[in-house]
Amino acid sequence: MVFAMLAALALAIGISACGSSSDSSDTTASEGGEGGAAIVSNPDNAKVSLTIGSKNFPEQEILGEIYTQALAAAGYKAKSDLSLGSETVAHKAVQSGAISGYPEYASTALTSFFGLEPEDVPSDAQGAYEKAKAEFEKEGLTAFAPTPFASANAVGTLKKTAEKYGLKNVSDLEGVSEKLSLYGSPECRQRIDCLAGLEELYGLKFKSFHPVDISLRYTVLEKGQADLSILFTTDPQLSAEKDKFVILEDDKHVFPAGNIIFVTTPKVVEKAGPDYEKTILEVQKGLTLPVMQELDARVELEKQTPKEAAAAYLKSAGYTG
């Protein structure tokens, strides 16, 4: 038995080694809209050091890298810190000045930092941004305008499961959820924008809930362990494997959609000068839902590093040479 384990381990190490050495070419362009204006390096910025943070999952890491590389292209001494474990940690890091700023979902900021119920989160990007910005300013932070794309949690399942039970909306789970197991992040169980909301606002009871690392959210569906799994609407698997995975329409709005807003402090804004906000707003113009999905796919499916994916985006969208 032990030998089988060790053999499996050796095998997996071999496989992952092959996987990570896959081509990191940046020739297949991610369509960055109509292409942004190339970022011009300003020598005045060279004396300003910036540390851009992100939470520790692929989409956030890609965004952190995009902002870092764009700011470096604008002449700043920019470095990234992509390992902040949770929004609470990231929030504290920007408050304490340990990082200059980081990308956050407006919906997460409103529900997690400022205690809004999911149904009270404004459904339009601008409204949510303005509300979040006002709240951030009360505590001495600020935020920049939102990205074009938005991301939300979603209840996902295999297409065949959805067909078997006739599931289209989350409310269709009524009456069948008792037979189905749900998998989500360890935090999901208690969160109102996750299991707690499904139980309270939809009145659903599931056969069981199992906490898993979010990187396993598709694995558990594929292995047939989970009937339902909490996915993200920006997941590349949803477009790449349309006939395999589906997400259920959140008809009672438990999962607020959030556009990314860049959270920073007025002190950093003042120190860094006008190119700081300008660069960030310029570089996120191309981040539409298909582009973000494509970038997530590079990292999650093709095993590129977030750094490589970000560089490819900046190049193909015309921000860097």
Partner: protein, 236 residues
């Protein structure tokens, strides 16, 4: 990684253990409190004991056998040491990919962590038994199995228990990351800072440490009970 100091306090952590606290993200429902603490502690204990049992079933007979035969040193010590080098988080992720998440996967992964110390210490303990005693037992007409059971194993108890205690601490501490593989243990408090807050994280750490101490003392007590009178150190 930046050490963004979470502002937890011991007072807050103890409050969290006994009374549910408010959380921003739960829609008004309290988190923590003694009921949840008991539920998660019992799960952590259950996972730990299952994994320990599996590790014992594999490692103890193997250690006794190789030790008695005086052979297989390379296997017993080599495998033991190699096992220690496998990072548990990687192991759990790997098992999740191969057999999937959940209790079984987790038990096997944790048992793999417990096997090396038990195997190595049992082997070494048996090897260190005075050969003269073994020969004397053989001279009395004991079978090989009786020699192991009545002579070698009792005399190797201190070493065997060192292995079991090390394995237990390794397993119970590592069972903290079980919420990443389908089982909600005390690690849920530590991994869920957004839900439980910094006090919850600290409370989780305190509870895991306490659980480890309780297990350690229980095993020390069991070891005293099982150690033959002649081997106990007594003040002169």
């Amino acid at each position: 990684m930046i050490a963004a100091a979470p502002f937890a306090s011991f007072g807050g952590a103890f409050e969290f253990i006994f009374t549910p606290q408010t959380s921003n993200v739960t829609g008004g429902k309290g988190v923590g409190g003694i009921d949840q603490v008991i539920e998660l502690t019992l799960t952590q204990l259950e996972v730990t004991l299952l994994a320990l049992a599996l590790a014992l079933v594999i490692a103890l007979p193997a250690g006794l056998y190789f030790g008695h035969r005086g052979a297989g040193e390379f296997v017993a010590l080599g495998l033991g040491n190699a096992g220690r080098a496998v990072p548990e988080l990687a192991l759990i992720a790997l098992m999740a990919a191969v057999i999937g998440v959940g209790g079984l996967n987790l038990t096997v992964a944790l048992a793999i962590l417990g096997i090396p110390p038990i195997l190595t210490n049992t082997f070494v303990g048996i090897r260190q038994v005075d050969r003269a005693s073994v020969e004397a037992a053989r001279g009395l007409g004991m079978t090989e199995f009786e020699i192991v059971r009545k002579v070698e194993a009792p005399m190797a108890i201190p070493s065997i228990f060192t292995g079991i205690r090390t394995a237990t601490i390794n397993i119970v501490a590592t069972a903290t990351i079980a919420p990443l593989a389908g089982v909600a243990t005390l690690g849920e408090f530590i991994l869920g800072e957004n839900v439980y807050g910094p006090d919850g994280v600290l409370a989780g750490a305190i509870l895991v440490a306490l659980l480890a101490l309780v297990l350690e003392f229980s095993l020390a007590g069991l070891q005293r009970l099982l150690t033959s009178k002649g081997l106990k150190l007594r003040p002169a």
